[in-house]
């Protein structure tokens, strides 16, 4: 494709003609699902087009976002981190949203939609557990039973979230097949969905999967960027750069959408660089993957020469996924967003820096966005930077136990 083709694609995205009726974001997207699900996908697509623009639905959604989720979430200036980095750093605080991450924006929206569509039961997958908790909470709020599939490795490393899901009344099913993380949990959730595509509503947790999910989730998460832009304009001005971590890509797409048309704002998606660049050591799909088809969508993926999906690694369960939302694949292709990586160690260091300088404990996922921003700030002095703080780190305490705080990085020395 030529540069003009890319520009035309990007324009189509901006003016809303993408995704098209087939759910394509240019070459990416689509609906690669078992035939059994096609009628459900069609019903869902019709439901999305009917309810998302509906005044009454929007009123209900906005009311839940404001009064139950706690939106708008704060925009926080980070003065001490700014000093340290030589930048003007701002956080968009999804960690303050109900249940502790941006995931709730999506789950309450989809739970209301499921209710409108007459679903009897919600099925969801979860990696870090944040989407599981957010699903359990939203289902309780609207009064639908909820089953959450979670890889057994994630069940172990995100134990606090498992307990929270139980408490919120959800059934949590540990998945022992496949790689026993998010990817297998999605496989399993789809299997459950297929068993009763009419009664079940599959509440997908990121901007991935078959159309209309990438579109639906993006629309529900776009509130992040919309709010952040308004708040920044009120308090300072447009950012020079904005950073968000990219697992499936829902918080990132939500943040980016607020700024897509602001060409002066450079956009960066930060993927999990894990332990290194070798296949299997990271989850850096866009940075090192290739196009393929997984979980219903044509997108960038990590797979081997035989087409087999690769096991991935990240210290952060929420980024530990070999695929990515198709819209990100497009944004990379057309060059509007640059996708970079932060390693496990860089993310951990950024987490501790944020704790000790700003008194905010970010999720390990969000710490990747911080680490990416820090790298960029070092090469671009004095810029205004927005970081998507997609969630809080409470859920990560069991993992962090393996990485004791370096005391010398504490706030005392840090002030020096």
């Amino acid at each position: 494709m030529t540069n003009e083709d890319h520009e035309a694609l990007f324009e189509s995205l901006l003016n809303g003609s993408l995704p098209d009726d087939e759910g394509r974001f240019g070459p990416f997207g689509g609906r690669y699902v078992p035939e059994t699900l096609m009628p459900a996908i069609d019903r869902l697509t019709a439901g999305v087009h009917r309810y998302l623009p509906d005044a009454q639905f929007q009123q209900e959604l906005q009311s839940e976002l404001k009064s139950w989720v706690g939106r708008p979430t704060a925009l926080t200036h980070a003065p001490r981190l700014s000093d340290r980095w030589g930048a003007e750093v701002w956080f968009k605080r999804e960690d303050l949203a109900h249940t502790g991450a941006h995931k709730i924006n999506n789950t309450i929206g989809q739970a209301l939609l499921a209710k409108a569509l007459g679903a009897q039961r919600i099925v969801a997958e979860t990696g870090a557990g944040q989407h599981g908790v957010a699903s359990a909470a939203a289902c309780a709020r609207v009064g639908l039973p909820c089953t959450v599939y979670m890889g057994e490795i994630d069940v172990a490393r995100q134990a606090p979230n498992v307990d929270r899901m139980h408490r919120l009344g959800a059934e949590v099913v540990p998945v022992t097949s496949g790689d026993r993380t998010l990817r297998s949990a999605i496989d399993e959730a789809i299997r459950d969905w297929v068993s009763d595509p009419k009664g079940n509503y599959y509440l997908l947790g990121s901007a991935i999967g078959p159309h209309p999910y990438p579109y639906l989730v993006r629309e529900l998460q776009a509130v992040i960027g919309r709010e952040a832009r308004t708040q920044l304009l009120e308090r300072t001005g447009l950012p020079d750069a904005a950073f968000a971590c990219v697992g499936g890509g829902s918080n990132a797409i939500g943040l980016f959408h607020g700024f897509l048309a602001d060409r002066s704002t450079a956009l960066f998606g930060v993927e999990a660089g894990g332990r290194g660049v070798e296949l299997g050591q990271n989850s850096a799909t866009l940075a090192s993957g290739r196009p393929g088809v997984l979980h219903g969508t044509h997108t960038m993926l990590l797979y081997d020469d035989d087409g087999q999906i690769q096991e991935t690694h990240s210290v952060s369960a929420g980024l530990d996924y070999p695929g990515v939302g198709p819209e990100h694949a497009l944004l990379q292709l057309v060059g509007r967003v640059e996708y970079v990586t932060a390693s496990d160690d860089e993310a951990l260091a950024a987490l501790d820096e944020c704790c000790s300088l700003e008194g905010i404990l970010p999720a390990l996922e969000s710490a990747h966005a911080l680490a990416g921003a820090k790298q960029w700030a070092a090469a671009n002095r004095g810029k205004r930077i927005l970081v998507g703080m997609s969630g809080r780190g409470d859920k990560d305490m069991p993992i962090l136990a393996d990485y004791p705080v370096n005391r010398s990085k504490g706030s005392v020395d840090a002030a020096a």
Binding site: E35, P39, D187, R191, G292, V293, H295, Y303, G307, Q308
Partner: protein, 253 residues
């Protein structure tokens, strides 16, 4: 005759239902693949060779298990083609490949069709490729006269059923129940109505599968459909060390 027509001919039998047998390539052992294939081919009217995939989202535990073991055994699409190319026997029944899309995509659709034709493969079943997304693959297969089999399900609306039946090649794969492969719940009560509807929408043979394990089920299906597809039950027979031929023959009414 084009491979896809040979396939439909093989499945439209007078007087008895045809039997389509599915097994995962290289399962339980890699070394016995051709032996198993030969034996299954001799007992079935068509054979689906499963290409293992890491994320078999439409499959139940049996196929998942076989897929995982096959992958551990080093089975890949390329290896399957090599095996087929190197065999020293004729295939008494047409052979299809059943694969999720990504291994095919990674192979490249042009190369795929080429290699399939060379090695005697008649067509493909791709469980995560609905008709709407099938354009590029279908184009490559059509160029070689290979079948891309469409699936229909009890949830498929009437119009869509007509459409899928009209574009399918080789046969129509009628999924008997919503859900994944390998169910042991038996056939739904309304399976007759459903199969009758598929049959009347299709000019190709209709073969019904998902959860077929017993002769009695084959008999019920045969009242309305042209054939049955047996997968998980065959894999379980293989696991139990039973002769595949014997097992398959035990299903025939």
């Amino acid at each position: 005759m084009l491979p896809r027509d040979q396939l439909s001919d093989a499945l439209k039998l007078e007087g008895r239902p045809s039997l389509v047998a599915f097994f995962t390539a290289g399962y339980p052992d890699r070394d016995t693949f051709l032996d198993v294939l030969k034996e299954v081919c001799s007992a079935a009217d068509a054979v689906e060779i499963g290409v293992p995939f890491t994320d078999p989202m439409a499959d139940g535990v049996t196929v998942q298990r076989s897929s995982q073991v096959a992958l551990e055994n080093g089975v890949s699409l390329g290896w399957i083609f090599d095996q087929l190319a190197g065999r020293d026997f004729e295939l008494p029944a047409p052979v299809l490949l059943m694969s999720y899309l990504n291994p095919l995509y990674a192979f490249g659709f042009e190369d795929l069709a080429e290699r399939a034709l060379e090695t005697g493969v008649s067509g493909f079943i791709v469980p995560d490729l609905p008709y709407e997304e099938s354009g590029p693959l279908k184009q490559a297969l059509d160029a070689k006269g290979l079948a891309l089999v469409q699936l229909v399900t009890p949830a498929t609306p009437k119009e869509r059923l007509a459409k899928l039946c009209s574009v399918s090649e080789g046969f129509v794969y009628a999924v008997t129940r919503t859900g994944i492969t390998g169910s042991s719940e038996g056939l739904p009560n309304d399976v007759s109505d459903y199969l009758a509807a598929v049959k009347s929408a299709s000019s190709l043979p209709v073969c019904a599968g998902f959860g077929v394990r017993e002769q009695e089920q084959v008999r019920r299906i045969a009242e309305h459909a042209d054939g049955v597809i047996v997968g998980s039950a065959l894999l379980e027979a293989l696991e139990a060390g039973r002769s595949p031929r014997e097992f398959l023959e035990s299903l025939r009414p």
